[in-house]
């Protein structure tokens, strides 16, 4: 029994460039979200976060 290869669209160089640009944009957005979560966490905890028994 042989499996047929699914029909695939071959990307043109322009489509590869656009995909790469989109990937970079998604990576930057995710990085920004990490920083945002960090900043919001610190802001919500406030200075009292350091005032605890060790």
């Amino acid at each position: 029994m042989t499996l047929e290869e699914p029909e695939r669209h071959k990307l043109s160089p322009e489509e590869v460039r656009r995909r790469r640009t989109r990937s970079i944009a998604i990576a930057l957005a995710l990085g920004f979200m990490v920083l945002l979560f960090y900043a919001v966490t610190i802001a919500k905890l406030g200075p009292q976060v350091l005032n605890r028994p060790l």
Binding site: L11, R19, T21, R22, A25, V40
Partner: protein, 324 residues
């Protein structure tokens, strides 16, 4: 991939795509940004920021700025879903034919997924960052704009932009809820100002672009009630809007600068609305309508800029004898 528009009576108003093998996304990053209607987003950020500032809250600036970002993303998401739903009429209107979906740059289902993801993310994150009242108001704004306005009212009634204008007027309320945890009269007054500003603003444009709207099958007031009835409605709404613009002075959160701007700007709005009402034919009529359309943007901008300067930069000065 070409977009086909189905404008037959009763057809589901939705973009369809030519059949063929599944293709990868071909959109540029800027096409996705365009889906978010960045100019509308900037107006939303501006008005929501004023809503945050008019009532002192002592909120941490990082929380306030992050909340503002989520409100902006929520507004962008609703714009994206609006473009998904309206892709068929965008394809036949000169003003909107270059948008990413009708231009074939982004597939309709991609825009739907993008808009839904951003809607859910912005609401959930606003709830976590600020509070769930603000998140609920943002969710209501998105649903109202997409489901009530875009899917329901826009193609059904000439009162579409009157009722639908509530979605565009809510950002100051959401902004205030994000930093105070409640809704005050101040932000409701700002809501009322934007709500009453919307009809004369859009109907002035609709007078000039009536042909476009007729071609797209959108029942704007000039196409249904006629241009003269629209001119009367523009004048009446403006006569309500201008005194409403002075309510912040009466309530005390509009200071001297705001009062001057609201008075002079309001008089100019009335003068332009009277001009639109009186000039009813030819290029003069179109010019008067476009003048009102352009000035209405400046008027709203100046009102909110004055409040921003007074409350954000500490320029508020009392107006003796006018405030409560």
């Amino acid at each position: 991939m070409p977009l086909t528009a189905d404008l037959t009576a009763g057809a589901a108003p939705r973009a369809t795509l030519a059949a063929g093998p599944a293709r990868p996304s071909t959109g540029e990053v800027r096409d996705y940004v365009e889906l978010l209607k960045p100019r509308v987003m900037s107006l939303v950020v501006f008005t929501a920021l004023v809503g945050m500032l008019v009532t002192p809250s002592g909120t941490h600036p990082v929380i306030a700025a992050s909340s503002l970002l989520m409100i902006a993303i929520g507004a962008g998401a609703s714009g994206c879903l609006n473009m998904w739903w309206d892709a068929d009429i965008d394809a036949v209107m000169t003003r909107t034919v270059g948008r990413p979906i009708p231009a074939g740059k982004i597939r309709a289902e991609e825009a739907l997924a993008f808009g839904l993801f951003l809607s859910c993310a912005s609401v959930l994150l606003l709830g976590i960052i600020a509070n769930w009242l603000a998140a609920g108001l943002l969710a209501f704004t998105i649903v109202f704009y997409v489901v009530v306005y875009s899917m329901g009212l826009k193609r059904a009634t000439p009162q579409n932009i009157v009722i639908g204008g509530a979605a565009g007027a809510l950002p100051p309320v959401v902004g205030q809820a994000a930093v105070t945890g409640t809704v005050h009269l101040d932000s409701l007054v700002l809501f009322a100002i934007i709500f009453m500003w919307t009809p004369p603003h859009f109907w002035a444009l609709a007078l000039v672009k009536a042909g476009d709207y007729r071609q797209a099958g959108v029942p704007m007031l000039p196409n249904v009630a006629g241009p003269d009835a629209t001119r009367l409605q523009i004048l009446l709404y403006t006569l309500v809007l201008v005194p409403l613009g002075l309510v912040p002075t009466w309530l005390g959160f509009g200071g001297l600068a705001y009062t001057v701007v609201a008075t002079l700007g309001g008089l100019a709005m009335i003068a332009l609305a009277v001009k639109v009402y009186r000039r009813r034919a030819g290029r003069e009529a179109d010019r008067a309508a476009m003048e009102l359309f352009a000035f209405s943007i400046l008027y709203l901008f100046l009102l909110f800029a004055a409040l921003l300067a007074e409350h954000g930069l500490g320029l508020w000065r009392n107006v003796p004898g006018l405030s409560l």
